[in-house]
Symmetry: C2
Subunit: 908 residues, 2 copies
């Protein structure tokens, strides 16, 4: 049997089917499927993607027999419509549209009204057809054909039209008199001829020209670029759809429109869209006239009022399409003399909140299963649902007004406006008076209180996992980092951007979802779902949940039923722990004790410990810190009774706890009543060339064991107190930065001895697990040796990424943006776990660790714990849990479920 | 058959053999072997190390039957000697000595004259035996037994003796009259009784006491410490040798001495040693009297003059032992009434230069094979040979200036200057701050840690075989002993010499090759061998090579015949390249271009490039640097014609080329005529939190490609120039810090394009290899991907170690010393390649790289390339070459040969 290159559709039947997207393209498959379903579709036929492939491989040639096959289909189409190509009595006009298997901007798109010629126009009008309609169709064909097939710049046609409108004082093209349209068409033809080839006056020549243009556009620069970025195969090709025209511009009983079967912004389950009376399809999309909503706002006119019959039909068709495609659809339609024709159907794009609601409600309606609903919601959808937001229109107005200052990396989603402050102290000071945005070149642990106080954080340096980014995400705050166009002059208290100078205290807005920095304020609010989940709305609101909240909950409950991977949160305070619990965390995977050290009542004692002259002085300082740490742990254990809490012993180098700069050190000396020289000397002695690779983590634990002993005592005592109070405490003590077997052996021994001592003193029996972070490449390489002395591993993939790549995340802003832009790296390895390199170490460590200790508990606590791709990797290699910032817990729950589902899929 | 716990020797036969060191200990095996060879050895027997193990495991108990077995051997010994235990007519006296399988300072060593009692002493004298001899033997037994068996402090006995000498105005103990000795002995017995247990008067009780003390001393603190430092197994145990006494102190025809079969300092092939007339063995080692050299210096008396017959016999015995053991021997002997008895033989410790010469000459003499000679020389021996010596002119000036303090015996060759410290503890304490010279009256096993820490050792007492001399030689440290003119006052913390007083902490210099002690520091110059090899001595000197030079060359030539691994050098300048070539480098493995950047005429242009405002200014600065770099490369290529030269493109971050500190930056601004603020801003913009993990290496190459392009052009042009000049240039261009496949792909492309362009311009055809350094853990993990685009890998194990451990080399001093001391790490991974972790990455990268590209050339260019253990690892995993600093090239050549030999050994 000869190859079949053309598939007909229309008249309640079709050669192709909806599942033949690869062959027929999305549009062609949709038309075929609608036709089979008996939905009114203007008839036509589809040249398959195989023709495109042939065309590409033969430098613009076509397979033998294609012309005859096309002629056959044309005759069939004429028979079906009762019209004929070039017949002035009843001319067949067609549209020619591209239709790739995936939506592909950049390709030649549409030519309408193909089949007209000067002769036919004249003859048709002469036979009494409305001259305005015919000439409007004619000038549209000339424009579209001239533009997309013959390469005449679209603007040149617009100039001619504009001149005509001016001449005739017409507000829109619709008001041009037929004579003017005829003159415009003449000028269009001249324009085309001057550009090169004249407009082809025979329908067949037009048709082949348009088909060739579509196939050729597959290989244009923009399309290739788009495929490269989106990872679409070059071999797919596009189909071409040739379809009989129906006209939405043939009078007041005609219209054209687009619709979504559900609201794409909110997900609400009713048809949503807009239409134009007496217009052709392109007018809706082009935004030349303002269309009317299908459901009239506030009782205004809508489709039901304008076209009651077509409106009923459209609703039926939408419901059928949704049930048939089992998803919300995005459709195009035309009404010709009150009759509805469907021109396209495809899956509709939607916002995050809509995606959640639609998935949940489709499942509730029985159209899809709950598992499918879980698989359909993108993790980013949940992020959107949880992020505070700017009003989009207001933001657009601000950008139009020239208030856009810079772009940065969107490190913490959400929107924030407030007074700009350039120091953490000032942030803390002014926060009570209203929201502030902390703007710094970069942040450091000293800034933590100010960051807490700020409504949003903006830095000119650093990447997606810089201190600012990590802390901000941990706090669920909007954050932009690496906004390199900003010059943050902390001394002059100004920020410069382009030619602008913003002074401290001026208002500024940052959109952490999109990356824009905008001068002046913009209104924001936390998302409704988040407010409800963490209980700010009160119990009543929670019970009476809105559809957004209810469907969000539902999706996550279904996700929980599916996933194997547990989800914990990284939380350092009782407050964080409570938020984590409210968002579904099943424990704390990383509680960083150093953050506690920075609190106002503690840092003096931490510094006193660092500056201590002798063991006694140091012991005194530690004794002061002990009850404070103990209280923190009590709070955390109480907030997560029954759930595991992994506490990491002190990790950063001691110099991080001293203030920076000579002046600040002198101030500290004065405050502590010690000679300035002593503080300066000690600070200098502690300074490091590469603090990231310095005297920190367990290296500190081994060389200054009294700090760890204090911390272990605080953890154990707190566990005893809460146990006596009736909580079920599951404490796990984590030793950071282990890289040698002996480090683990000795610290395990030390920790265990202290735990035993305190349990003995408190007379409580309680199992406390002791494990380590795997964050140094060597630890992964000798994981079998380390596992012999560890109850659990938690992969600290932030540091592991730094060391495996040799990238300092504080400095990576110098080259990483360029690396990502130019494709040296496919993605930011601090945002997404590098499964090729870092992941290789993680998976090797799991395997070696479990070989020695099959019950070894394995988790990940880097920033990657909240990244869906990374979560999938963690699922695949068999980790027990991921731990991420509290606000990412819902994302991780969903990602874990999707990983499980896609795992099942692969196992089939 | 019952276990055999005791092995007899003597009378020309023996139960044991020389290869039973594990069972009989070194001393016992030596005695058995000598006995079998018919060499005169006083008869005796050895309790095996198995008895020791039993003793340790049974808390001081002995296996059943041991007592009977010992009685049987005692009777046999009595029969053989014709003497009897406790028989006043002809008493059997014995020595009891420990003898572990490895030499072990810190253990109970020797008790002589065992078998005497008050009753026997009286009776023996009564029977006409020389009272002075008998009483001298008696007081020695009491001292040794009291000290080592009963734990009475040695100094207490000394005090009694000193009092007696004072009372009798005797200069030495020898001058004490018999009555005085009798009184001393009485006082000794009281001293012992007061301390605890009285001295046991029966020979058997004495014998069992001494045996138990030896076994118990295996487990004392010092011995354990020694075993830990030297990696000796705790399970080995020590043997005990019980041997009939012969007396070197029975008159003027008696003597005792120690000898080496060759000179242990220079390796010269003649018997070398010292002896004391009318003395017991301990006197030689203790350094109480200054012994006489066996070969009299400058025609003075020697053994040939004092004891012609015994001297002849000793030479014969030495020659036989050397041929038998196939190595230089360290022997102890006693002459009793002109008859020679050998008491011990063992492999002799020697200096580095001696080791080289002895090995080469033994091979020349046909005693060992050249391969054995290569296997015997320790890499550290070569280091000693190459170690700098004092500049002779400066030393002459110092002597002329009256700074010569004393002469001593040159016990350990080499030159050292440093702060004078008078205790081992202080040496250990201060060594980290700079070199220290440990100065003591004499050293003891307790000083071992301080000796390790010291740069050199100086004693005022003792001979060439004293504790200080032996240990220092073992450690390869410069050492002077017996500098009798020095008064070392450890209490006052001063050293007096002539009229001068030197205080602790003042600087002092010792020449362990020539024997001079000089006040103050002295500059050093290259050693004779090094001067000859690198041609500073002129061609004449090289042709007329000294034995030291000739044997050094010979060993390395033999090594070259054996090794598979090639040895290259790391050299950045033509001068370094020439040195490397002279020392046998087979190419340059690492030529760091940044070192060139620091030269005075270049750094301004480097800085101008960094501070450039625009591309044009930057290009101008690079254009200035280009010819300078080209010239460097020409010099290097010329120096190594025919050998490969691997040039690494710029590696460090740019801020390393700017001066540090505000003031220096301001100075730079002034000098360059640009605003200070601009320089400050640029420096601040370049500053990094962790420069080690920052914007450097190929990251710089990709973001500022013009620098690499300039360098590649300079390399290629230089290669063309030298090729035209007739050199055979083998240039290899190395891209540093690659961690992602795309980095390698793009930089290879860029480098290749520049090479092609320049070759085209120069009209020269020349293959230039392009490869990369593997120094980022991720590079090792994805080595297969990188290998697809690289002609070679060079492992940069310095950085690889930093990143794999997460240790910053600049900061590791904070904890690494403590880690090493407490055994958290077994060795410094920056000195010796960590085969467990870092090595795992290296070996994995080799395997994956070669899988993709079987001809991939593999080398190592970190500091580890000159470390013998690391070289062995490199051999084992199949690298093609190691590259090390030029002065380590001979060490690497030897280590590579030894790795090949030990590989063959394992394959057998």
């Amino acid at each position: 049997m000869a190859a079949k290159y053309i598939y007909a559709f229309g008249g309640g039947t079709a050669d192709g089917r909806g599942d033949q997207k690869e062959l027929l393209g999305g549009k062609g498959a949709g038309l075929a499927e609608m036709s089979r379903l008996g939905i009114p579709v203007p008839p036509g036929f589809t040249l398959t993607t195989e023709v495109c492939t042939w065309f590409q491989e033969h430098h613009g040639g076509y397979p033998a027999g294609l012309e005859q096959e096309l002629e056959r289909h044309l005759r069939q189409l004429e028979a079906l419509t009762g019209q004929r190509f070039g017949d002035a009595a009843n001319p067949l006009l067609v549209s020619v549209r591209s239709g790739a298997p995936m939506s592909m901007p950049g390709m030649m798109d549409t030519v309408l009204n193909l089949g007209l010629s000067q002769e036919l126009v004249d003859a048709w009008i002469a036979r009494g057809t409305d001259a305005r309609f015919v000439l409007d169709a004619w000038r549209r064909l000339l424009t579209m054909y001239g533009d997309v097939v013959l390469g005449v710049e679209h603007a040149r046609f617009e100039e001619v039209l504009a001149a005509a409108r001016a001449e005739h004082r017409a507000a829109s093209d619709n008001e041009l008199p037929p004579a003017a349209l005829a003159a415009v068409a003449d000028r269009f033809k001249r324009l085309i001829a001057e550009h090169g080839r004249p407009f082809p006056e025979t329908p067949r020549e037009q048709l082949w020209g348009a088909i060739g243009a579509v196939f050729a556009s597959w290989d244009n620069r923009r399309a290739r670029e788009y495929r490269r970025i989106n990872g679409i195969s070059e071999r797919l090709g596009t189909a071409v759809n040739v379809q009989a025209m129906v006209f939405g511009n043939r009078g007041a009983d005609c219209a054209t429109g687009v619709a979504f079967t559900r609201n794409p912004a909110t997900g609400e389950a009713r048809v949503y869209g807009e239409y134009l009376v007496n217009a052709q399809g392109e007018d809706v999309v082009a935004g030349i006239r303002t269309p009317r909503p299908i459901v009239g706002a506030d009782g205004g006119r809508g489709l039901a009022e304008d076209f009651p019959q077509a409106d009923r039909e459209l609703r039926e068709v939408c419901a059928r399409l949704e049930r048939h495609y089992r998803d919300m659809q995005d459709v195009e339609f035309t009404i010709q003399h009150d009759r509805l024709y469907m021109l396209q159907t495809r899956g509709g794009k939607r916002t995050g909140p809509a995606a959640v609601r639609i998935a949940a409600e489709l499942a509730d309606e029985g159209i899809i299963t709950p598992r499918e609903a879980v698989a359909r919601v993108k993790p980013q959808d949940l992020v959107q649902v949880l992020a505070p937001e700017f009003d989009v229109k207001e933001k657009a107005r601000a950008v139009a007004a020239g208030r856009l200052l810079a772009h940065g990396l969107p490190a913490g989603p959400g929107a924030a406006s407030g007074r700009m402050v350039l120091s953490a102290d000032r942030a803390a000071e002014l926060a009570a008076q209203g929201p502030v945005i902390l703007v710094r070149a970069e942040t450091s642990p000293e800034d933590i209180v100010g960051m807490h106080a700020a409504a949003g954080i903006l830095t000119s340096r650093g990447g997606m996992t810089s201190h600012a980014a990590v802390v901000a995400r941990g706090m669920g705050k909007p954050c932009l980092v690496g906004a390199g166009d900003l010059d943050v002059d902390e001394r002059a208290r100004v920020v410069r951007a382009g030619g602008r100078v913003l002074h401290e205290d001026e208002e500024i807005s940052i959109d952490g979802t999109t990356g824009e920095v905008i001068a002046g304020g913009l209104a924001t609010r936390p998302s409704e779902v988040l407010r409800t989940l963490i209980g700010d709305e009160g119990a009543g609101a929670a019970a009476n949940a809105s559809p957004a909240v209810a469907t969000f909950r539902k999706i996550l409950e279904w996700a929980d039923e599916v996933r194997r991977l547990r989800v914990r949160a990284n939380a350092d305070t009782p407050g964080d722990a409570r938020v984590a619990g409210a968002l579904g965390a099943e424990g704390i995977g990383l509680c960083r004790t150093e953050h506690m050290f920075f609190e106002e009542d503690r840092i003096p004692w931490v510094r006193r410990m660092i500056l201590a002259d002798d063991a006694a002085e140091r012991a005194e300082a530690l004794a002061k810190l002990l009850p404070m740490q103990e209280q923190d742990f009590e709070g955390i254990f109480a907030a997560l009774s029954g759930l595991p809490v992994t506490v990491r012993l002190l990790d950063p180098p001691l110099h991080e706890f001293l203030p920076h700069g000579d002046k600040a050190l002198a101030g500290l000396a004065k405050q502590m009543g010690v000679p300035a020289a002593k503080v300066a000397t000690r600070a200098a002695a502690l300074a490091e060339a590469n603090p990231m690779l310095g005297h920190r983590g367990c290296r500190l634990g081994l060389t200054a064991p009294e700090i760890y002993e204090m911390q272990v005592e605080a953890i154990t005592r707190a566990a005893c107190v809460r146990t006596r109070a009736g909580d079920h405490v599951e404490a796990e003590i984590m030793v950071p930065l282990v890289g040698a077997e002996q480090e683990m052996i000795r610290l395990r021994q030390m920790v265990a001895a202290t735990v035993e001592r305190v349990l003995g003193e408190e007379k409580v029996r309680l199992p406390i697990a002791i494990g380590t972070m795997i964050e140094v490449p060597r630890a992964a390489l000798i994981a079998d040796k380390i596992a012999a002395h560890a109850d659990f591993f938690s992969f600290g993939t932030n540091d592991l990424t730094q060391m495996t790549y040799g990238y300092s995340r504080d400095d990576v802003g110098r080259f990483l943006p360029q690396y990502l832009e130019s494709g040296v790296l496919p993605y930011d390895p601090f945002a997404r776990l590098d499964d090729e390199g870092v992941g290789q170490l993680v998976s090797l460590a799991c395997e070696r660790g479990r070989r020695v200790r099959p019950d070894l508990h394995l988790g990940i606590c880097g920033e990657h714990g909240g990244d869906p791709n990374s979560v999938e990797f963690c699922h695949m290699i068999g980790l027990d849990y991921v731990s991420c910032s509290p606000y990412r817990v819902p994302v991780a729950r969903l990602a874990a479920a999707q990983a499980a589902l896609s795992g099942e899929e692969k196992d089939k």
